[in-house]
Symmetry: C2
Subunit: 285 residues, 2 copies
């Protein structure tokens, strides 16, 4: 079935165009907005796609305006797709206290099962199924795709890649929430979207998922890159890169990990390292 796309904006940028589209989401039952950067080369040939998942409080515009990724994507001949971080709209339930770390702007890239959220908060299905189908249907893309993200979106990129062997060519993350079962942001999100019964939580925790992999799981051969600032205020309480490093070591999984001295959690950090990440992905796309 064809999904109708409504073009929200279009801006010429480098050789191509940065555009925003809205559409009805069949999984989230609301209007969703995403951004896409297409180099001019996309008018001549199909290009691979890098999906970017943003962090808490963001929508599709933060990475679009602050990371400087389009310059590099333009040079490398990659399309960038940047979804929103949650469902939106008057009908979509937010955190009951309006907190920044749950509800709107904080979908955590899971499929909610809690009764009050499950109708709208199906962000995992949105970013792994519905959105890629829309992109394939409407834009000049190859079937090669990779995924990256920041913080909550780094967690999202990791779980999307681990849970979908063969779907992505490579995965990377900036300051990801690696072990949401064991940090306040993750525990709040998982309890809210999934309920207090923690038995299902591990399916949305990158460390737990890696621990559960068979020794021949394709994820163990997937190129994986993580960059973490060492002056990140959330390093020890929320992000816990050591947990991911240990989970990878336990499975003999190669992790290209960079500890970046002096860098924090901001887009000043992301903009410094985004070129490295895009060049990493391009090798596999």
């Amino acid at each position: 079935m064809t999904t109708a796309l409504c073009r929200v904006s279009s801006n010429r940028m480098f050789s191509g165009n940065h555009q925003r589209f809205s559409h009805h989401s069949n999984v989230n039952h609301c209007q969703m907005t995403f951004a896409i950067y297409q180099p001019a080369l996309a008018s001549e040939q199909a290009l691979p796609v890098l999906y970017w998942l943003s962090g808490l409080t963001c929508n599709d515009e933060n990475f679009s305006t602050k990371a400087g990724a389009q310059r590099v994507a333009d040079e490398l001949g990659m399309i960038l797709v940047m979804p929103d971080t949650s469902p939106r709209g008057d009908d979509v339930p937010d955190d009951i206290h309006g907190a920044y770390d749950f509800g709107l702007g904080a979908g955590f890239y899971v499929n909610a099962s809690a009764p009050q959220y499950q109708n709208h908060y199906q962000m995992y299905d949105y970013v792994t199924k519905e959105l890629p189908a829309i992109i394939a249907e409407n834009f000049n893309v190859t079937d090669k795709k990779s995924i990256s993200g920041h913080s909550m979106g780094g967690h999202g990129a990791l779980i999307c890649a681990i849970k979908n062997p063969g779907m992505y060519q490579s995965v990377s993350a900036f300051a990801p929430i690696t072990n949401p079962m064991n940090c306040p942001w993750g525990q709040k999100a998982l309890a809210g979207y999934l309920g207090d019964n923690q038995e299902s939580w591990w399916q949305w925790d990158s460390c737990e998922l890696i621990n559960s992999l068979a020794s021949d799981d394709p994820f163990l051969a997937l190129p994986l890159k993580v960059t973490q600032g060492l002056s990140d205020d959330f390093l020890n309480e929320q992000l816990k890169p050591q947990a991911l490093i240990e989970a990878c070591e336990g499975k003999g999984k190669v992790l290209d990990y960079t500890a970046a001295e002096g860098f924090d959690h901001s887009y000043f950090f992301i903009s410094t390292f985004i070129e490295d990440h895009l060049r990493f992905h391009r090798k596999y796309l």
Copy 2:
């Protein structure tokens, strides 16, 4: 006299640091905030400075977060200084209707003479005298400086360069308001800050200033670069690049003018061309 600087924030970025400082302004009689990017090289040797003047509605953060200039400044060994666009604070009078194009966020880089604004709105003296003195006193800079800006800030860069022979090594502008006496934004600003008597207005109009130059004026030899998007919504009514082109032609002034097909007035436009402008300035710094 030493001006006390209060550090508002500091973020590691590329090899250096992006920082914001606030201080009391003796010319604007209020607290002012500016941003500065210093490559790591600035800890070893004095570096030249590019001043950036932002457009209507901006403060020091828009260019800092959206243009991607620090990456290039880092490579080229330049310091970037990004002032606010107006005085700020509870005591500072705004537009009486709170309009976006006058008052707060819209200082127009002039020295106000109208009684209700002259105590605070001395942005020309701030960006050409007070701020450079603060930068020289507190940071490791050479005496070489250049200036650039966008829209209202492009107008600001032009008038600063024309009115101060020898102060800058080069000047550039993105989509500048070239002829404020003859456009709605400029007429509103000049009437408000200077009063309805138009006799003094020409001193703040780049085209009128160029028309008045003697044939041996040093500005006529100053490197000048302008980039203008041809899909800019403000092109014909507000910006009028042709007026600047004709003023330069009338004096035999070389203008490196780029008409950029398809580009609009946004930071998507600025981020596409900022590298060209920084490399242009670096040749003269």
